[in-house]
């Protein structure tokens, strides 16, 4: 697992900026203001360019140590092995605590825009337990960050907490992405409840060229859904929110975390989605991330994914027949029947992903998404084992 | 052609229910209903020689029981039915034709 934050050595920083790590290419392209860039002196090409380049008004320098930075200029040195940061990344420096955090990683499969720690649901398996804090300041910081993200970044995920709690702030962020990153797909993870009353979904109509909403639904009736999200009235709000988003011509994905009570009614949920929400463009069936609140509810939630196979197969088959795209997330191939492998995606963010020692022998390891870095034995299927051979020559 | 007679307790079933149930048989049978305070006598006479009579009495009784359930459902849902349809169509009605889109 790769840490996203580390203690660093730094000096001469007057404030806590967001900085774009830059090399020669970034300098030449001129996509970002030099004053926002951190010139990476660890890079051989940059060093080969000679001392003249350092005289430009860079925000500061990224070095191996204090001696390598030009005198009287701000610098940062990352201790050996602490933290991976490269050209193209965006970092946030907090000089008063000497900490640096990664806010955007070039080339990563899951860069996020973290909007708030607040949430209006309290899901039993929440991987990001909410906190009641006033973090409205994030909106401006995100708008700033968006300005430093590569124009060719394929996608960004807007997440939290619950992004719609920002109200107009969310609209600002989406608008900023539309302006600064028109070629970047934006996927917003939200429970959609606010659109069931409170926020008009139409404020997002036509706002962004490539925007999708990922909205969880856990049951075909309120008793189950409200229990999972620990919030009375949530189902009703989310469902009404889905209709409001559809009326605002939004693209919608339904996300289902495969905790045991949900799996027990999964085929009914699939039927419910088809009958009532046929405009849904994608359904993501996701194995639980064993972190956060999930850990406290193991007994209520855990189901060995291998035992889910028949129900998964039925749900996937049904949704596919109805022409609704389906994907399986966070499930290693060995716990799935081969007929479902085509639906499995490598979904775990690179920085929190790992393979187990058993995987070394597995012939389909490259295709498999592996495991969460924080998986423990009790959150691992009994059926994990390397695949020795497959029935299809292609694989 | 034999006429089937079915006796139904008037204390349990209303005339509407018996009539509705019996109405279903008017394709293949001539239907006659005689009512008294105690009961209804429903007489079914097959219209054609090949009329199926073997389980007609049982079927009619089933239908009467079903009509009773229907009456119960109707009494409970009549109002919300109208309200739901009105709510649904309020947004779905077409624009006046010929006056542009």
């Amino acid at each position: 697992m790769q840490p996203l934050e580390a203690k660093v050595h730094c000096e001469q920083w007057p404030e806590s900026p967001l900085l774009k790590v830059a090399g020669l290419a970034e300098f030449a392209a001129g996509s970002f203001p030099t004053e926002r860039m951190l010139l990476d002196l660890r890079d051989t090409q940059v060093r080969a360019a000679g001392p003249a380049i350092c005289r430009l008004p860079w925000a500061g320098f990224l070095t191996d140590g204090p001696k390598h930075a030009p005198p009287d200029r701000p610098w940062i040195a990352v201790p050996q092995g602490a933290f991976k940061v490269d050209i193209g990344d965006v970092v946030e420096l907090r000089p008063h605590t000497s900490k640096m955090a990664l806010r955007y990683r070039r080339g990563s499969n899951n860069n996020i825009l973290f909007t708030t720690e607040r949430c209006n649901s309290y899901c039993l398996m929440c991987s990001q337990p909410p906190r009641e804090v006033n973090d409205g300041w994030r909106v401006s910081q995100l708008c700033d960050l968006i300005g430093l993200i590569d124009k060719d970044a394929p996608s960004l995920t807007v997440t939290g907490g619950e992004p719609t709690l920002l109200g107009e702030g969310l609209r600002r962020i989406v608008r900023r992405c539309a302006d600064a990153l028109p070629r970047t797909h934006l996927h917003v993870l939200s429970n959609g409840r606010a659109f069931g009353g409170g926020i008009p979904a139409r404020m997002f109509e036509g706002l962004h060229p490539s925007l999708t909403w990922g909205i969880p639904l856990y049951g075909d009736h309120y008793g189950l859904h409200d229990y999972i999200v620990q919030s009375a009235g949530a189902f009703s709000q989310t469902v009404r929110g889905l209709y409001a988003l559809e009326a605002a011509k939004q693209h919608i994905e339904i996300r289902v975390v495969l905790v045991r009570p949900v799996v027990e009614r999964l085929t009914e949920l699939a039927r419910f989605i088809y009958r009532n929400l046929p405009f849904v463009e994608h359904v993501a069936l996701m194995s639980t991330e064993p972190i956060g609140l999930a850990r406290a509810h193991y007994d209520d939630l855990w189901m060995d994914p291998a035992d889910m196979a028949p129900v998964l197969a039925k749900a996937v088959d049904f949704l596919s027949k109805c022409s609704i795209r389906v994907s399986l997330y966070n499930l290693p191939l060995c716990v799935l029947p081969e007929s479902l492998w085509a639906y499995s995606r490598k979904s775990i963010s690179d920085w929190k992903q790992q393979y187990l020692p058993a995987c070394e022998q597995c012939v389909v390891k490259e295709r498999c998404g592996g495991f969460f870095a924080w998986v423990t034995d009790k959150w691992t299927s009994q059926s994990v084992e390397p695949v020795r051979g497959t029935s299809c020559a292609k694989h | 052609m034999s006429t089937i007679e079915v006796r139904l307790d008037a204390g349990v079933f209303s005339v509407d229910i018996v009539t509705k149930a019996a109405h279903r048989y008017t394709d293949a049978y001539f239907v006659e209903i005689k009512s008294s305070p105690a009961d209804f006598i429903v007489r079914l006479t097959p219209k054609h020689a090949e009329g199926e009579t073997s389980q007609i009495a049982e079927h009619l009784c089933n239908d009467v029981l079903d009509e009773q359930l229907r009456a119960l459902v109707r009494s409970e849902t009549q109002d919300i039915h109208a309200a739901l349809i009105e709510a649904a169509l309020r947004e779905a009605l077409p624009p006046q034709s010929g006056q542009g889109r």
């Binding site: 009736h221 009703s236 209709y243 009914e268 027949k321 109805c322 | 229907r70 649904a88 077409p94 010929g98």
Partner: protein
């Protein structure tokens, strides 16, 4: 943070019934089909259903959730939402939103054939008084664009429309020219025998994206028997037309329908095999209706709905077998009924709708300038009964809508309001056909126990539901593949 147990999310105890209807399964009297207001459904044991209706269900039962999720019951109103039920209902009825999409232009009554069952009362070749005049054509085009539908299907019919292809060409060009400003989506269909297709007609049809709909009654001997031409070679000419049509416009652009005569009913397998032989993937098995010459020659050629239903069962068996062998072949009406049972969507056919499709879903512009809400109404008029004529092409659309004919249609055109239909479990999926009931029973409201329309519909729904419910998984897959597959064929109804 304290977490609440599942039972605390039930809310206020108890539940209420939502509008629902039910029907005992003919093949299992101990179970009932229960349908919601929008046509979602559940099959339940009758005694469980009775418990549900009398308020005895327990929230912890799976049946409770099953009925809740289909909007047959509703629990705590503070926590439940009926928005999906409304959405389902609107989706089912969404054809109402835009007014008629199907517009039939009868360019000529003339035809080569002398089919005994002909619904059209065709005239002999050579009499141009039975062709659509230019002024009529121009008025009809104006009226066409007075309707609001964003997609317009224009279907040319006759007689044999190819006999007045110049009029077909002119109408197409007028419509497309006008559409440059209107910007609707247009679909052109021609219902024709495809006999004597000329080298001039085919390229025109290709250039304007025409779809061809023709009649193919079955193997050569049956087709020629049903469709006499003086030359006795109707089949050969039809097949020739199909081949030429496919070559010029693509396989997907050519479809065929049968008309079933009494003789046809004896040979369901042969008819289906003929369609397979000619490479069709869609067949339409339509029973005769009591119009046109069919009524006059009734006794000799007619058959009962019971006869048709027997034929249908055999045909369905054979279709399933063909599909099991790996050849995809669907029947269009079956597909429509299955889509009603298995999907939440409305379908494109005008003939099974409530409110009725007559006038609301389709308009017919006759050769003589009279306008009708459906083909059936036109046929009645040809037999002397103008009860359902809407008016003339030179009148306004508003006049038609407010005409006594339209009022008569609407008065009997909502199945949910008709006696017996109102309580039927299938009514959310079914339709009203006031004109058909008028033609068969003399009264647009109709009497359901003796109604052929009702008998046919109920039996077909029952049959398909039973086949789906009790069929092997292979058969279920086949039935679902018909229902769930997207199709271009909606709205194409008639062929010469």
């Amino acid at each position: 943070m304290k977490f609440a147990a599942r039972h605390t999310f039930v809310g206020n105890p108890g539940y209420r019934l939502l509008p629902l209807r039910f029907r005992r399964l003919p093949w299992d009297q101990g179970r009932v089909l229960v349908t919601s207001m929008s046509g979602d459904w559940l099959i339940v044991q009758r005694n469980d259903f009775e418990r549900a209706v009398t308020g005895q269900l327990d929230p912890s039962e799976p049946l409770f959730a099953d009925m809740e999720s289909r909007f047959l019951i509703s629990a705590d109103p503070e926590r439940a939402t009926l928005a999906p039920l409304l959405s389902q209902y609107r989706t089912r009825k969404d054809y109402l939103a835009e007014g008629p999409r199907l517009h039939i232009f009868v360019v000529s009554l003339r035809c080569h054939h002398t089919c005994a069952y002909c619904q059209v009362s065709r005239q002999v070749i050579g009499q141009t008084t039975f062709d659509m005049a230019e002024s009529t054509a121009r008025h009809a085009v104006d009226r066409l664009f007075d309707w609001p539908a964003k997609t317009l299907t224009i279907e040319f019919q006759g007689g044999e429309p190819l006999l007045r292809f110049d009029r077909v060409r002119q109408l197409t060009e007028l419509i497309e020219q006008r559409n440059r400003t209107e910007k609707r989506t247009l679909r052109f269909v021609i219902a024709s025998t495809l006999h004597d297709l000329t080298d001039e007609q085919l390229p025109f049809m290709r250039d304007h994206g025409f779809e061809l709909s023709t009649s193919l009654d079955g193997p050569e001997w049956l087709h020629n028997l049903n469709r006499p031409r003086p030359e006795r070679d109707s089949y050969r000419r039809t097949v020739n037309g199909i081949e030429r049509g496919r070559r010029m416009l693509g396989d997907d652009a050519v479809s065929a329908l049968t008309t079933l005569t009494r003789r046809s009913l004896e040979v369901p397998k042969e008819i289906i095999d003929e369609y397979r032989k000619l490479g069709f993937h869609s067949i339409s098995l339509r029973p005769l209706s009591p119009y046109g010459f069919a009524r006059k020659t009734g006794a000799r050629h007619s058959y009962t709905i019971a006869d048709f239903l027997k034929f249908y069962e055999a045909a369905l068996d054979h279709l399933l077998q063909v599909n099991r062998e790996g050849y995809f072949l669907e029947e269009t009406y079956t597909r429509m009924l299955l889509s009603l049972l298995l999907t939440p969507f409305s379908h494109g056919y005008v003939d099974l709708r409530s409110p009725t499709g007559a006038g609301l879903g389709a308009v017919v512009y006759d050769y003589d300038g009279r306008v009708y809400p459906s083909d059936e109404a036109r046929m009645l008029a040809a037999m002397g009964d103008h009860s359902f004529a809407l008016g003339r092409v030179d009148e306004s659309v508003e006049t038609w809508i407010s005409s006594p004919s339209m009022q008569r249609i609407l008065g009997a055109g909502v199945a949910e309001a008709l006696p017996t239909c109102a309580d039927c479990a299938y009514v959310p999926l079914c339709g009203a056909d006031p004109i058909d009931h008028y033609a068969r029973q003399g009264d647009s409201l109709g009497h359901r126990p003796t109604s052929d329309f009702c008998r046919k519909q109920m039996r077909l729904f029952d049959t398909l539901l039973q086949r789906w419910e009790q069929g092997s998984s292979v058969d279920r897959d086949i039935l679902e593949s018909w229902a769930l597959r997207a199709t271009r064929r909606e709205g194409v109804l008639e062929a010469a």
